[in-house]
Structures are given as C-alpha cells and as structure tokens.
C-alpha cells in the first residue's frame, strides 16, 4: 500500500519536479559545453571572425592535413606523451610508496601533521608554485647551489631541453603525491587486519607483509586509478607547462594544449587551433571509453 501511495504521488508531480531541478544545470551545459561543440565546425573551415561560423568557407580536412604535415606536431605529441606517462608512472609509484610508509606511522599527531602538509601543494595554483620551482631551480637557486657544493656543474633546468621534461614530471609528482595517496591509504585501511596477524604468527617480516598482503590488497584500486589516468594521457598539464616554460624550451616543453594556445589563440589561427584541439578531444574520448571498458573488465568497477 505504501508503495502505491508513493507511486501516486510520483504521478502527481515528483517526476516533474525532478525535471525542474535538472533544468538550470542542463541549460548551462547546453550553452557553455554544447554550443562550443558545434563550434568545432570551424576546424573544417577557413574561419574568419568577421564572417562568423556561418559565413566562413568550408575547406574540408585542410587543417588536419596541414597539422599532420607540420614538422612540430610529432614533437608536440611525443612531448605530451612522455610528460603525461612519466607523471602517471612516477606519480602512482610515489603515492603508493608514501601511503604504505605513512600507514606505519602510529603516532597520531605526526601522521595528521604530515598529511596536512603533503596534501597542501595540491591546493596551490601552478602560478604560485611556478615561482617556487623557478626559485629552487634557477641558475642561482638552491638546487644549483647544492650541485656546486658537491663539485658538480650548474644546470640551467628551466632553459635546457634535456632537463625541462624531467623537471616538469618531478615537480608534478612533488605537488600531487600526497593528495593521490588518499585513495591508496583508504585501500590499505580496508585490508583485513587478521591477515597481518596470521602473517605475523608465521614470522613474516615487515617487508614480506607489505609485499604479500598490502600491495595485493591495493591492487584493484591501483589498477582502477591507473586505468583512469589513461584518460589524461593527452593532457600533460597546461597550467604547469605554461607557467614554467619559455621559448628556449618550446622544443621539449610544448604539449598539445600549450601548442593550441600559442598557435591558435595567440597566433589567431582559429581554425587550425580548433583542429588540433579536436584531434586531442577525439583521441581523449577513445581512450576514456577504452579505459572504462578495461576498468569494468579487470576491476569490476567503472568510472561512469
């Protein structure tokens, strides 16, 4: 009877109310997400702002063909992949190691303080952190002072095509490892303590317990996070690169997003920039869908 009563109410207006609740948000999405999607048409045009999207001439795949013929594009794609994959691999490893170690900290006060500190850089803007990084890694910064102390040669980290990518990867790992350790810590705490006791009875060392209990226990979440991070493989981090690079390191530092910004928006080649952006979006969507399938298959969880 209760069921029937609820259903009746549903017919009277709960459903309509649900739709009303969705309306404002959906409108915002239509305007600010879906209209720009229509705007990708400009990638197939020679877009001229004065003529607008409906007046500009269609040129088919011209800009895409041009893109694939550009000498830069291979470099830009490989920079993007190297930086993104480096961040994913090292960042995940670092977060896992840190969470395993932090889990051993038994003094509440120490644990809490450490957590507060290592989560902090995640919440700061790359605008702010770029200053910190420049300050540390510039020619007269502390890192070079330390190199000099050990009798090593100075390195111009921010102006060297050899060092720029490691710098980007390293500083991103520094910024994010604490924050990404949150999910791994949660995974560790959900492991059955009985397993550790049993292993302890059998005389397992700390390392053996980590290797045979903790890490296998974390495996599903590690796989899930790994699969999810696949979707970021073409977003190597605009904010970070943009705030740290300069023309000297365009060769090793330019990623797809900074390239679109530089060529498309600053250089006002709207159609070409849109084409590069569309290329990135399409690859991204394919990766995300595959990642979701992989996640469903191997971890029994999914992203959406």
């Amino acid at each position: 009877m209760k069921q029937g009563k609820l259903k009746a109410r549903g017919r009277l207006g709960t459903g309509a109310m649900y739709h009303m609740m969705m309306l404002p948000g959906i409108l915002f999405l239509l305007v600010f997400s879906y209209i720009p999607m229509v705007g990708v048409i400009t990638a197939f045009q020679d877009y001229i702002p004065a003529k607008g999207m409906f007046g500009s001439e269609f040129v088919g795949l011209k800009h895409f063909i041009y893109m694939f013929k550009l000498p830069d594009i291979g470099q830009v794609v490989s920079n993007t992949l190297i930086i993104a994959i480096g961040k994913i691999l090292l960042g995940t490893m670092m977060a896992i190691i840190f969470s395993v170690l932090l889990n051993e900290i038994r003094i509440k006060y120490v644990k809490k303080s450490v957590q507060t500190i290592v989560y902090l850089p995640h919440f700061l803007s790359w605008v702010v952190l770029a200053s910190v990084v420049v300050n540390m890694f510039s020619l007269d910064g502390i890192v070079n002072q330390m190199l000099a102390f050990f009798g090593l040669e100075n390195i111009n980290f921010l102006g060297s095509n050899t060092w720029f990518q490691p710098l980007i990867i390293g500083t991103d790992v520094w910024k994010e490892f604490g924050y990404s350790s949150i999910v791994y810590l949660a995974a560790i705490t959900s492991i059955d303590p009985g397993l550790y006791e049993a292993a302890g009875m059998d005389g397992a060392s700390w390392w053996r317990k980590v290797w045979h209990i903790t890490l296998p226990g974390m495996l599903p979440i590690i796989l899930l996070m790994g699969v999810m991070s696949l979707t970021n493989i073409l977003s190597a981090g605009f904010d970070q690169v943009y705030n740290l690079y300069n023309p000297v390191v365009y060769e090793s530092g330019d990623i797809l997003d900074t390239y679109v910004y530089r060529i498309g928006l600053v250089g006002r080649q709207y159609s070409f920039g849109t084409a590069v952006g569309l290329f990135k979006s399409v690859i991204g969507i394919v990766l995300l869908l595959s990642a979701n399938q992989l996640a469903k298959k191997y971890t029994d969880r999914k992203i959406f």
């Binding site: 209760k2 404002p24 720009p36 200053s131 910190v132 921010l158 498309g264 709207y270 991204g284």
Partner: protein, 297 residues
C-alpha cells in the same frame, strides 16, 4: 621475541619515520622559503642569502603591496568570483545530484540527463570555440566570463550524486509520508546528512576558481580586469623572460627586476592566505568525501 629482532624492528620504524617526515619537509620547505624571502631585504634576496629564516627582516614588500592598487583590484575580483561561483556551483550541484541519485524507475529520463553530462565531460569543443562563444556573448572583460562557463562542475555533481544514493531510503520515505515535497526532502533530509561531500565539493569550487589564471588570461583583455592569479602570473612572466634572456647568472642578478623577487614573493604569500584559512576547516571532510564519492562499485 629475540633482542635482535626487536632492535631491527626499531631501526626499521625509525627509518620509516625519517623518510615520511623528510617527504613532508620536502613539501613544506620550498613554500616556507618563499615566506622567508618575502620578509627579507631585496639585497639579501639578490645575493641568495635567504634560506628558511628571513635575512634583514623587513615588511617593506608588504607595505609596497598595500600601495599596489591593481593587486587589490585583482584580489577583489577574485573574491567576488569565488563567491559567485561557489553559490552557483553549490545550488546547481545539489539540485542536479538529487534527481540523478534516483533510479531510472523513480526518475524517468534520468539516464538521458546522465548521458548529457557525461558527454560534456568526455568531449569539449576546446579552447578556441569556447573563447569565440564567450566573445560572441559579449562577456569578454566581465566577471561572468570567469563564473558562468564553470557553473556545472560535472565531477562534483557525480561525487555528490554517489553520496546521495547512499543515504538510507527510509529517511526519504518517512519525509514523503509526512507530506514533504522533493525540494523539501532534498534540503531538509539529504543536504544535512551530506555535509562531508558538500564540504568537499565546496572546497573544490573555491580552490579551483581562486587558483584559475587561464580564463582571466584569455577572457580579460585589460589588466584592470584580471583576477588575482592572472595578475600574479603576468608578473611571473617577467622572471621567465629574464631566464631566457641570459644564461649567465651574474648578468641576471644585475637586472633590476630580480630585486622585485621579494615583492613577488610577498604577493604570492598574500594570494595564498585565503586558501590557507579555509583549508584546515574543510580538510577533515574532504578525505571522506573523496573516498566515498570517487569510485562507483
């Protein structure tokens, strides 16, 4: 247990503590160094004499900031922007997450809305079509260009949606039987029990909008309309230009701009203070919020 095993255990524990504390210091000290620089004299900063303690302690940089009208204008724009975005985001997140947390049977059309959201998350028109839209809407150089495009944080909606769907059904049914309508149920039952998730997404909203410099960079053509991070970013660019200008360090330190390092450091410190004020308040919630909301079984 033998003495030696115990001893080994203690050493191991000590090493773990040492590593963890060292990692925390590696996160903290570079930030602390900026604070020390901001309180040091510009001579000491140019001479690279500042470590963790200010050298020739002075608040000169901070008194200079007080005179920097653009800094405060940008600060004000950022505060207004964060406030507007927070209100808008929270209203939309709560309103959308609730119906979406219902099953397909309870809310016909739920999956269509869900797909509309997920597609918007997956695929975007990209930087340039979005810029052209904002331009055609005549929103360049207005605060709305900084607020409206991010009105619906889809990830946050999904996070809160997952949190809502874990709320016991009985609570809702009881409220319905008492004659409440869905809006009342949402705000009187769901919102109060979902504070951790809501605090988490509020933190995301505040941090995200406060930290964003890019929309300011592309949508604002006048420096006087820059939000704070865009303004600070435009100052940092000078440092990057200097770095490329010469690889010789003595040449660099001779340039006068470098002595502004302590002023820029002070600006960064002031820009971070608002975040540092809310961070401890929300920190206790976001760990729960993230863990519960991020993954769907």
């Amino acid at each position: 247990m033998s003495y030696s095993a115990n001893f080994k255990d203690r050493i191991g524990r000590f090493v773990i503590y040492a590593i963890v504390i060292m990692l925390a210091l590696v996160c903290l000290l570079p930030l602390w160094n900026i604070v020390a620089i901001s309180f040091s004299s510009s001579e000491a900063v140019s001479a690279n004499a500042v470590g963790l303690v200010p050298v020739n302690f002075t608040t000169a940089a901070y008194t200079k900031i007080i005179d920097d009208a653009q800094f405060w204008r940008s600060f004000g724009i950022s505060v207004l922007r964060v406030a507007l975005a927070l209100v808008l985001n929270m209203i939309l997140i709560i309103l959308m997450a609730y119906p979406l947390s219902k099953s397909k049977r309870e809310f016909k059309g739920r999956n269509i809305y869900m797909n509309v959201m997920i597609f918007a998350m997956l695929f975007s028109g990209g930087m340039i079509p979005t810029y052209l839209l904002i331009k055609n809407l005549d929103m360049l150089n207005t605060i709305w260009a900084l607020v409206l495009p991010g009105a619906v944080p889809i990830f946050s909606v999904i996070l809160v949606m997952n949190f809502f769907s874990a709320v016991p059904k009985a609570l809702e049914e009881a409220a319905f039987i008492d004659g409440a309508n869905p809006l009342q149920v949402l705000f009187k039952v769901y919102v109060p029990v979902s504070i951790p998730a809501l605090a988490t997404v509020a933190l995301f909203s505040i941090v995200g909008t406060w930290n964003d410099f890019f929309s300011g960079l592309i949508y604002m053509t006048k420096v006087s309309n820059y939000p704070l991070m865009t303004y600070i970013q435009s100052l940092n660019v000078n440092i990057a230009d200097l770095l490329q200008a010469g690889t010789n360090s003595s040449e660099l330190s001779n340039l006068t701009e470098i002595s502004n390092k302590n002023l820029n450091a002070a600006k960064i410190v002031v820009a971070v203070i608002p975040l540092l004020l809310i961070y401890p308040l929300l920190q206790k919630y976001f760990v729960t919020g993230i863990v519960v909301g991020s993954v769907k079984e």
